[in-house]
Symmetry: C2
Subunit: 244 residues, 2 copies
DNA sequence: AATAACCTTTGATCTATGTCAAGTAAGGTT
DNA sequence: AACCTTACTTGACATAGATCAAAGGTTATT
């Protein structure tokens, strides 16, 4: 199952720069850039550098200097914290339109790896910060995005702290579907560009538990496992699995 | 064990208003207000309404219209999500200087209850938002605070998703101590204005597990249980309990 | 000072989920 | 097509932490 926002790299990449970037940008309306007027977008455009990255690559590490920040324009990422003994918590998955580096912090607060081939619209953090400093609308937009992330993070704390395994899986499927829906439009088939282990590491479970629950939901005809994702057969029962 | 930032209400409350609020404010340097220059602080001061609230009171509910937002000036709060079946996740505890309503969202994203008697410096959300809109330094400060909260939230996800009970308790004690230290200065004795059940609901554990672990750490002479809080006897071993 | 209400601690047992260990399927490569 | 690698699934068993139950302590109330 392939998700096609027509590949932004197609009409963008030219010695790492591009003209026409923002106006042709498929994710513009979802991204922080939506805050900018024509004048400001020109300034941003000058700073932007398109990049293509292949699947399954680490692209930044928690604690390292945050030289560059970016909007994800196509493909998917996972954002994660790794403990020294190998345990891993996936903080979230990024989809097209998501901005990485919202906090403008001088070091990255999490590590990032690509799940799929990916294109990004990258900026020098300092340069971007300065633009933000003199562009109140941009900070406001960053703040709104960060606040939204914060409330999602808090919702996820409830999931991790207080919900049982089946609820976690059900809620994950629903929230991931909702996130994709906003970008790609409604669909009963939910693409899962991440593996079972990634889902487990996001939900604080083991791969076996995730697998068993997905199998069970399949047996109960609530979902149908299809290659690359899954189809939601019974929305109502899926929702009932997790009390509000 | 009583924490005394001298009570801000002393020289503040006068028909719900006050002169001299901000200059006398004990938490000003920690709070979002620190972003403001003399001119701006005057504008803010006009909008501010001091309030006193007694211990163990719910003061706002998730989902309700966010009419007012505030800086906590003394006392402690807990911020929580409640599920319909009674399960509860405490998102965090607020200490003097913390701002409640950082996101400027039109509805509250979590519920809040007082742990102790409390004083707050409250604002009408709309009024405050408008001030923020024309005061870039203020939004910037809100954004920094929100970003900081976001990274704390992500750290807590790791705790909830991937750490064992003893690590959770140890990390909680260290992070709570660190938070208080910034406000009240260094101290080996850590006040715990919240109960064991609150700690459990913050760490995704049961009260029995929290109690057992605190008892064990006491037996091992890592901490000493004292009324209203506890004393850290062996910082090194406490830190060793949780791998980075 | 005695009583009551509420926390907290401790012990005994249970269980949801983790761990360990095979299998099976799906791509990718030669 | 056969092989190999990697991901997923399933089963059997183990365990960290939950649940149930009963004391102890503290603080507030009369």
């Amino acid at each position: 199952m392939t998700l096609t926002l027509p590949d932004i790299a197609d009409y963008c990449v030219e010695a790492g720069r591009c003209k026409q970037v923002c106006n042709g940008c498929k994710v513009r309306l979802f991204a922080v850039c939506a805050a900018l007027d024509d004048h400001e977008i020109k300034a941003l455009e000058k700073m932007a550098r398109q990049k293509t990255l292949s699947a399954r690559q680490p692209i930044m590490f928690a604690g390292e200097p945050a030289d560059s920040i970016f909007t994800l324009t196509s493909g998917f990422l996972r954002l994660q914290h790794d403990l020294s003994d190998g345990r891993r918590q996936i903080i979230g998955f990024a989809a097209p339109g998501d901005f990485i580096g919202l906090g403008l912090n001088s070091t990255y607060v999490y590590s990032v790896e690509t799940l799929t081939d990916v294109t990004v619209c990258g900026f020098d953090r300092i340069e971007f910060s300065m633009l933000a400093h003199r562009t109140p609308g941009l900070i406001e937009r960053l703040h709104r995005s960060a606040s939204h992330e914060l409330s999602l993070a808090q919702e996820h704390m409830v999931l991790l702290g207080r919900r049982r395994a089946e609820e976690r899986v059900a809620l994950f499927l629903m929230s991931w579907r909702k996130k994709l829906q906003r970008i790609f439009g409604p669909s009963v088939t939910v693409p899962l560009p991440m593996g079972r282990q990634d889902i487990a590491d996001h939900l604080g479970l083991t791969i076996e538990t995730v697998s068993r629950i997905i199998s069970r939901l399949g047996r109960e005809k609530i979902i149908l496992d299809v290659p690359g994702g899954l189809r939601v057969l019974d929305d109502g029962r899926l929702m009932q699995l997790a009390p509000a």
